[in-house]
């Protein structure tokens, strides 16, 4: 710690907080390389990228704004259905589909945020859960539109921007999904490092003080909730575009729970947690889950209990940190 006495030093200190770390650059270069270097794993990598985006969306509200949600799949599923129906009825161009899904889910987020943001953590948990259940029931009942329990099939997927065909081209599809993830990650990164992002962290940390500094807490939370919903909608649309069928599993509780788990595994509040968590989760699922599904469920539950017991904001990393502290003889409060 050193004394800061000039504005230049302060500006530098603040700029350093939002500058790209070299590890981040390496990470994204590695991700880009994976498009060409790991052809056999493209379907897994595509899944990871889509879940990553979904988890980043949850991180925006949970990690940065402190809004707990047990029903984030509502926006994911809504975006997927909207994208599929839009493609069937209007155009199969994927980027247009993403934009439409983003707007639709964002609006759904805007409307539902008015319900979610009232009340305590517990009420928020229940209301988000309830919203997802209502969406699930709606999708299930409006089978003339959504295909109900059978799912929605026959969605056309044209080449991206009329140039890049992704249908039945795993390499292209992964490249497309990864590019979308990267662009939206950069956008999210800018948002969380902006004055707006700082106000979210402030509201999360101390809502009372934030409002006494002049922050309209609710408006900010509504804004970020809508942005996160739009992100989730895009993630859903991406999955719809890269899978043959949009089904009710897009909205079910399992999906909301899984994305929460992935984010918690990777850690909240630094954006990479969602990516790392979904990668660990899906790779583990591939290896353990393929043996027996029951075992998988057990180990997921076990992981949750252990993480809840020992880990805080940094997911698995805080377990490592704790171990290191214990080994090193340091005790942390």
């Amino acid at each position: 710690m050193h004394t800061i006495s000039t504005p230049q030093e302060a500006t530098q200190a603040l700029a350093k907080r939002r500058a790209w770390h070299w590890l981040e650059v390496v990470f994204w270069l590695a991700a880009a390389a994976s498009v060409f270097l790991l052809p056999s794993q493209h379907s897994l990598l595509t899944q990871i990228a889509i879940w990553s985006l979904f988890a980043i969306s949850l991180d925006l509200i949970l990690g940065y704004a402190g809004i707990v949600s047990l029903g984030h799949a509502a926006y994911f599923g809504f975006g997927a259905y909207v994208a599929a129906l839009f493609a069937i009825n209007y155009t199969g161009e994927p980027v247009t589909g993403l934009a439409v899904a983003a707007v639709a889910s964002g609006l759904l987020g805007l409307v539902t945020s008015l319900l979610v943001l009232r009340g305590s953590d517990l009420t928020r948990l229940m209301v988000t859960l309830g919203i997802a259940l209502v969406m699930y029931e709606l999708a299930n009942q409006m089978s003339w539109l959504t295909g109900g329990a059978d799912g929605l099939t026959g969605m056309p997927v044209d080449p991206v921007l009329g140039v890049l065909p992704i249908s039945f081209r795993p390499l292209n599809a992964y490249g497309y999904v990864l590019a979308v993830l990267f662009v939206l990650f950069v956008v999210a990164r800018r948002i969380v490092h902006s004055p707006f992002g700082m106000s979210l962290r402030a509201i999360k940390g101390n809502p009372l003080r934030a409002s006494q500094i002049g922050v309209p807490n609710n408006l900010r939370l509504i804004a970020v909730y809508s942005i996160a919903a739009a992100y989730a909608g895009i993630a859903g649309a991406l999955l719809a575009q890269t899978t043959p069928v949009v089904s009710l599993t897009y909205i079910d509780f399992q999906r909301s729970a899984d994305v929460l788990l992935m984010l918690i595994i990777g850690g909240t509040g630094y954006l990479y947690g969602g990516i790392i968590g979904s990668a660990l989760f899906l790779i583990a699922q591939k290896f353990i889950g393929n043996v027996t599904p029951q075992y998988w469920e057990f180990w997921i539950g076990f992981a949750l209990v252990v993480i809840a017991l020992f880990a805080r904001d940094r997911g698995v990393f805080s377990i490592f940190e704790r171990l290191r502290n214990i080994v090193g003889g340091k005790t942390k409060p």
Binding site: A10, F196, S211, P216
Partner: protein, 249 residues
């Protein structure tokens, strides 16, 4: 000109009336102290003034403008700032981030989502100046939660000042501060800019009489007496209230 004024202000919680028909006038530029025994309703009154609580009856005026129905953040925008009895700081942020943030919100730049936080040179420069004024220069980039209580207390006041308030409400600024760091807080309070109207809530009579040019005494939710420090000091009724309280323990 009145900086702050309450008219027949009342707050009820069921059968309890912590604020009862309070007509308080704080003049522009005043160093006004609000004193009273424990449970007299001082903090309730502050919460009513800042909009944390809604009054059951009565009006509140800030510089002549009726702010009774405004939300807390709208009142802040109109120039009312406060500190809390127990520190309310952003533990996860650094003091630098907290002050830059507070200034940015004052300038209504909090909705900017595409600019980097801290990329506005004028705001950062002002934050550094405020930090210097409040003795925070040496800890600006530390995590606030890791700072000693006294430093956090200084940040608490700095955050309120960063809003460039017309009226500043100080809720027991020296509360909880260790004896050794106390004088630093009091110096800061004494050095507050003259154009800021200050309403000080305080228990410690030494602080009150060293600071205030006007004192109101609140007892059981009602304004009991008001006057110059000399008058209050010699008022037998005030002495009775305080001595009575001490006799109870």
């Amino acid at each position: 000109m009145n900086a702050l004024e309450t008219i027949h202000l009342e707050k009820r919680f069921g059968g309890i009336v912590p604020t009862s028909d309070v007509n308080l006038v704080v003049r522009e530029g005043a160093r006004h102290a609000l004193i009273g025994p424990n449970g007299a309703g001082k903090t309730t009154l502050i919460n009513l003034l800042t909009g944390v609580l809604k009054p059951s009856k009565g009006r509140i005026k800030l510089g002549g403008e009726d702010i009774t129905v405004l939300k807390p953040h709208q009142r802040v925008a109109r120039g009312i700032s406060r500190t809390f009895q127990i520190n309310q700081v952003f533990g996860e942020l650094s003091p630098l981030e907290s002050i830059v943030f507070a200034i940015g919100e004052r300038e209504h730049l909090g909705t900017r989502f595409w600019r980097g936080f801290g990329s506005d040179d004028a705001i950062v420069a002002e934050a550094v100046a405020i930090a210097k004024q409040f003795g925070l220069s040496d800890v600006l980039t530390a995590q606030t939660a890791s700072l000693p209580y006294g430093k956090q207390r200084q940040l608490e006041i700095a955050l309120a000042i960063a809003g460039k308030p017309r009226v500043l409400l100080l809720d027991e600024p020296a509360a909880g501060v260790p004896e050794a760091e106390r004088h630093e807080i009091l110096e800061i309070v004494a050095a507050l800019p003259q154009d800021v109207t200050v309403l000080l809530i305080e228990h410690d009579m030494d602080i009150v009489f060293g600071f205030a040019d006007r004192i109101s005494v609140l007892v059981e939710g009602k304004l009991f007496v008001e006057g110059e420090p000399k008058e209050i000091e010699n008022d037998p009724r005030v002495r009775a209230v305080y001595l009575g309280e001490r006799a109870d323990g």
